[in-house]
Symmetry: C2
Subunit: 447 residues, 2 copies
């Protein structure tokens, strides 16, 4: 039965993969979702986990649960290692799946511009694990300072440095300033978190460079009002345990967060199609790769040009539109209808900065401050996957807004850089488990 | 200023330490809370995190946040290594704190009866990390079975074995049965989670042995109704990756959970006072240790007899009463009032089994099923620390109750048994961080 109906395999369940699947739900196709994670992460709110405003469970939903009512959609937790386009196969470790249609949407990860040694010193923000690691480091910095102060040891001021003035860096910097100035204000006795220096470092001439200049200016002012120092034209040349270098200028740092470079998932290159400098697959006008009209590449993994020649931005709305488009084209094929080229509809963009602080651009209109923030809030709550999360997140936010309290301010687990034996016997190596985790847990980060 | 007022140091912020501190909040004492975790864990609901019904952030609250409005209470995230009673010092790695009063309430951990090699094969449930590790293993078991089934590989049935028929084991077994029969029912295509076998193994003659026999019987029946096989008089002699042995009988197991032995925190022995077989400190009638009326030992770490000679049970209400008592005695000393001996008020006990299933004993009255479950629910929501959590947890539960959905069904992080290098470069060793985590992160689990 299943053998006869065409099989669509979707690799990576970010926004693009998710909406492609939603479009095919209940249709006469067998759809297999392949992801190394069991959950879809609502990336736009990841920084709220990093800043302890939300718990991971509030911004991530089990993939198979999203499609529990769609019997034609299967979910597979596994690791894609490559593709055999000639035989229409997706390759895993020692397994493979045959497809009629392939959708690759494994997204992007952060890049350290060749300085991979910075990765452990300056975590980025792509996964739930990244977010909880950032939360752990930031909260721990205050705990250590408080302890040292109480024990009469010398305490150096806390400097949180965020590298990269794009939307992620701006979100993180604003959130870190809020934690320091508001959330933790009353909770310490020997140190004053409000004296924390939050520094946003951008190599370019202005932050939020994809936005109009007036909004960059406004964003800078709003960040400064939150207590963030914004440093532009400042390229990081070194990151160490306790400082960063900008040119030959040394800046002390307690915690460094990485909001800079983004590179496409390595899976793109394994398709054998041409890629751009960022490793994104250069797709045809129907988002497929040359010579393979049944292989779509979507979301951050795809390099797509708009009619005006500008690239389609790597944002959630674009990924969602691509996902829907791919699903519709597959349905069109079944109806023997011709494919229309993909057209990106720019509905405007919003970047949040902090409590009542944001910037937005919708058509020719530019917004700043509270109105932009409310717009951002509503849009994101609306798009949050999973009704039950949507309600609870709204409540969490309302609560956090009135109380400045942080429900998710937990330091859990170990630094992922601590060897397991140090956990003591309870966590000693469990081989079978280890193998499983290796097979399933470690690979190219999906979007 | 602080130097003159007496200094109370509380080691371990479980229920006992927490309520001792609450009693001393705003009083003319300087109070220092010492814990290796930054959060107080609401242990009675830990099994709900293990069963993905709640997120860690919903049952754990940052300790310093609980006391943000009590300026006389400081929180210190650090690792206690021992005590110097003669010089009234609490010892950490290379620091120490002088106290006037010492309260040690570092609780209990699970013991494997000398089979420490079982620890990695059968995680217990004492910390948030334990709970998320159990959640990870259980969810992963279904993911792997589904994948193998979809890839046409042989799939062996899923057997979840819970060792130990005490309250924790009963909670876990009931929760696992619910996940299998209800929560995951519609989410898989190639396997039927409802066919999972959940087995509760108890060495003694009956489960919930601290309860009256009729309630043990009722609990067994309620478990069976949920789909749990209850095996009593069955001592586990071996635990392996894929099976356990009971005597010479082999039972296949996919996941094994440990709800059996409990041992006092090693810190108890380091007080140099007499301890019982379980390592609990044998305290005097005012819960102090012989010859040191300023050193209290509370909660699961203390061996206390009731007037009738029965031991005070290791339950939250007892810990709370001891904490309040110690705080009051310290205040009494300041007023030069004599100390009254500690008296445990048994307000009855409740054990939850699952959805609408529980048993309870209040005075002579015995409850079962829905009424007992409602009583349990109300009591626990009431006691949940942190108003904002209380509300959200209630909502989570209501939602989970009507929808059987599980908001927290995430597989995050790696098995704590996977070496960090396997995480890939993003998680490479970060020495400074590692040292910190070693100093703060690893030690005797507190209650």
């Amino acid at each position: 039965m299943q053998i006869r109906i065409p099989h669509v395999v979707i690799v990576g369940v970010g926004f693009a993969g998710l909406y492609a699947a939603k479009t095919l739900a209940g249709q006469n196709f067998r759809v297999t979702l392949l992801d190394r994670r069991n959950h879809h992460t609502f990336q736009p709110l990841l920084y709220q986990v990093a800043s302890a405003a939300l718990s991971p469970g509030e911004i991530a939903v089990p993939i198979r649960h999203i499609f529990s009512k769609a019997p034609n959609i299967e979910t597979l937790l596994d690791e894609v290692t490559g593709f055999d386009l000639k035989n229409q196969r997706v390759l895993m470790d020692d397994d493979s799946i045959i497809y009629d249609y392939l959708i690759v949407a494994s997204g992007a990860t952060h890049t350290y511009f060749g300085h991979d040694e910075w990765a452990s010193l300056a975590p980025g923000l792509k996964t739930v694990e990244d977010a909880t690691e950032i939360r752990r480091r930031v909260l721990l910095a205050y705990e250590i300072a408080e302890r040292d102060a109480q024990l009469g040891k010398p305490v150096s001021p806390i400097n949180i440095v965020v590298v990269g003035g794009g939307p992620t860096g701006v979100e993180l910097a604003g959130a870190m300033a809020e934690i320091a100035r508001q959330v933790l204000a009353d909770d310490f006795r020997a140190i004053r978190p409000a004296t924390t220096r939050v520094l946003l470092v951008e190599a370019g001439s202005r932050i939020l460079s994809t936005y109009p200049e007036d909004l960059s200016r406004s964003a800078t002012e709003q960040l400064q009002k939150l207590g963030v120092d914004v440093l532009t034209g400042a390229a990081v040349t070194e990151i160490a345990d306790d400082h960063i270098m900008i040119g030959d200028k040394l800046l002390p740092s307690t915690v460094v967060l990485w909001g800079a470079g983004v590179a496409a998932s390595p899976l793109g290159k394994r398709l054998g199609a041409p890629t751009d400098r960022a490793g994104r697959v250069i797709v045809t006008e129907d988002l497929t790769i040359p010579g393979h009209s049944n292989v779509f590449v979507l979301g951050d993994l795809a390099a797509v040009k708009q009619s005006d020649g500008k690239p389609v931005p790597g944002v959630a709305p674009a990924a969602i539109q691509m996902g829907k488009y791919a699903g519709e084209m597959i349905l069109a094929d079944a109806r023997h209808q011709p494919r229309k080229p993909f057209v990106y509809h720019d509905k405007g963009s919003l970047a949040t900065i902090g409590r009542s602080a944001a910037v937005g651009e919708i058509g020719r209109a530019h917004f700043s401050g509270f109105p932009a923030w409310i717009a951002w809030l509503l849009v994101h709550i609306y798009f949050l996957i999973g009704f039950h999360n949507r309600i609870l997140v709204l409540l969490q936010w309302l609560w956090a807004y009135v109380s400045f309290s942080r429900g998710a301010r937990l330091i859990t687990g170990q630094s992922r850089s601590v060897a397991p034996r140090e956990h003591g016997v309870v966590h000693e190596a469990d081989v079978s488990n280890e193998e499983v985790a290796q097979r399933i847990g470690n690979s190219v980060p999906y979007r």
